[in-house]
Symmetry: C2
Subunit: 196 residues, 2 copies
């Protein structure tokens, strides 16, 4: 492992590596030694930078949420038309997951149960905001008479599921480019809920 000068770089490096390992093996199955080995430090060494294992997971989830807020929700909020907004959500989030696996994928796993009640609710609330944003977009679609005869809550949850599931199998499928997968994926999401 190359030497790292500034402390922030090292801490950031630990977060990124830990996100990678935890997403691949799961939170409970990942030991602090696993993370330490992946980083290139000793188990005791990384405690110089982090508060603890649970806090590490919390920071990673918050980081993933920040990415979704900035790269998905914020740009989508600029779009008025519900149909185009939904397409933007699906395309941007899918792209983010495929090209930057790590932290974004961990968003909705059941590893959340490992967090303390306070941290758990903090993350859960942010997830709920995102789900509500999708649901409101679908309601706007319904107001235009372009939503299929389906419950918006069920549709929103299903769409979010489709997005989160993307990061689970793409890494093993090496014969398709991310762009191709995203294109087909967005096509499916849109036709699943929009009348045609």
């Amino acid at each position: 492992m190359l030497p790292v000068r500034r402390k922030e770089d090292r801490a950031d490096h630990i977060y990124r590596v830990a996100a990678e390992v935890m997403c691949q093996k799961g939170y409970e199955a990942t030991s602090m030694n696993d993370i330490a080995d992946a980083v290139g430090l000793t188990k005791a060494g990384i405690y110089h930078y982090i508060r603890g294992k649970e806090d590490l997971l919390f920071q990673i989830m918050g980081f993933g949420m920040d990415m979704v807020d900035e790269d998905v929700i914020a740009p989508a909020k600029e779009i008025e038309d519900p149909e185009e907004r939904l397409r933007a959500i699906a395309r941007r989030h899918a792209t983010r997951i495929l090209e930057a696996g790590g932290a974004v994928t961990i968003l909705l796993t059941d590893d959340m149960h490992a967090l303390s009640p306070a941290h758990s609710r903090a993350i859960f609330d942010r997830q709920r905001v995102y789900l509500q944003f999708i649901k409101e977009t679908l309601v706007g679609l319904a107001a235009q008479g372009k939503l299929r005869d389906i419950n918006p809550s069920v549709a929103a949850a299903t769409i979010l599921g489709m997005i989160c599931w993307l990061g689970r199998w793409y890494n093993t499928n090496g014969r398709m480019t991310a762009e191709q997968v995203v294109r087909d994926f967005v096509e499916m999401v849109m036709h699943a809920v929009v009348l045609s």
Copy 2:
């Protein structure tokens, strides 16, 4: 806990309870004491019926696979028309998951990494057979010119993801009947891939 007479009943009971607990907390986060308490025995007591923790997970996953084989794949194989077959797969699997959470839900989680290489491949192979069955159905759909302009592999993986994700949020949503959710869900799956 009521007394159970026959040994097979007790073993079956342990499998069912363990599936419930493991699906809720995750494999690694579930201790043998958790399962023992839920069953109503001591940790040592349940070792009279099972070989070990990893084998318990393997048996549960195999049991879930058997349910899918019997209640989803087998009936769907009787249907010739690709569109009706796909609808049957989505409806039957979704119904199974919603009304019998437990073992079926665990099918495609990343808890699979906790299995030994041999067990892992055994389960993985059965998953691959199921995924291939869905993909072949989609190819049959394409032969009739009824499939959207999407890659069958991407579509099959996405559909399987939609199905598996169902069991993650329905339990928390108590305001809808399973039938209503299944109806909307099947509607979305079908329109996502079938030309209309």
